[in-house]
């Protein structure tokens, strides 16, 4: 084998390695956009709760910063996507399908989050509800709830079953299982700890949403770490 072909082979591996980092950054930027959109929703909700009307200069500046960061993150995603496309990385069929399913699920999750946030904002402007409570626990119209239940209760289990049995390989299954163990232990250890701290009057009452988010975050972080490290 010539040095030229050897270096080309290892270049391909290096490029592919860089693409993993790019995809990870794309996902993080996507999460960032969802969080900023949530912050914009919360900001506008708080403004409505205080009586609404036109924003003052500070309000416009805050909104401007939020929108600018969102646009920068969106541009970064687009730029990274172009870089992945131009790298010419050869992605095995199975991995391509895996990436497409994860990106589609991420997109679907974003749309569901936006639908819930939009409904929360309308609750605040119509009923003057507390912004935080309205976004997380306010009533949702059936026109939004029924499709969300269908997606989460019917489509997602089928996608999860297909993903587990037909798409991921054993190394990813192992990484995902490890994520589950860490998340399970985090749940088993932290929940009683929070409950005891609450009983001792040291912290607020345990919150189901915070526990669910922590569980999901630990699972995802360990899964990605084990898969891409």
């Amino acid at each position: 084998m010539t040095n030229l072909t050897e270096s080309a082979m290892f270049d391909a591996d290096e490029k592919a390695g860089n693409n993993n980092q790019r995809i990870l950054w794309m996902i993080l930027c996507g999460v960032g956009i969802i969080m900023i959109l949530g912050a914009i929703a919360g900001f506008l909700s708080a403004h409505s709760a205080e009586g609404g009307g036109p924003l003052n200069l500070a309000g416009y500046a805050t909104l401007g910063v939020f929108i600018s960061v969102t646009l920068i993150l969106a541009f970064t995603i687009w730029k990274l996507f172009q870089m992945v496309k131009q790298s010419g990385e050869r992605v095995p069929r199975r991995e391509k399908l895996n990436r497409n399913i994860i990106l589609a699920c991420g997109g679907l999750g974003g749309i569901m989050g936006l639908a819930i946030a939009a409904s929360g904002i309308s609750n605040i402007s119509e009923q003057g509800a507390d912004p935080f409570v309205a976004l997380l626990a306010g009533p949702l119209p059936l026109i939004i709830v029924v499709p969300l239940i269908f997606v989460w209760g019917v489509i997602m289990p089928v996608v999860a079953w297909f993903w587990h049995t037909r798409v991921i390989d054993e190394q990813e299954a192992n990484a995902y299982r490890d994520g589950g163990y860490y998340a399970g232990y985090a749940f088993l250890m932290l929940t009683p700890l929070w409950w005891l701290l609450w009983r001792g009057g040291l912290v607020p009452e345990p919150d189901g949403v915070a526990i669910y988010l922590t569980f999901s975050l630990v699972w995802t972080a360990v899964w990605f770490w084990k898969k891409y490290r």
Partner: protein, 70 residues
């Protein structure tokens, strides 16, 4: 576990993605096995053995030194 995967792959001028395609696993899986971060299952080890036409113990080294724990 130490293994000869990277050398065997290089001898065939395959990238990690190429080997992943042959084994029907992701490039990350090939990378994790090569770097010893993940030990393949027995079925995958047999698949690798068949692909390179070599016995498993010539590809993978479990560093067993011959002393038994009795």
């Amino acid at each position: 576990m130490k293994n000869q995967l990277k050398v065997l792959r290089a001898m065939r001028n395959w990238s990690q993605a190429d080997l992943g395609e042959h084994l029907d696993v992701s490039r990350q899986a090939v990378n994790a096995i090569e770097t010893g971060k993940y030990d393949p299952s027995l079925p995958l080890a047999f698949k690798i053995s068949r692909l390179f036409d070599m016995p498993i113990e010539e590809i993978f080294d479990d560093e067993f030194n011959g002393e038994r724990d009795v």
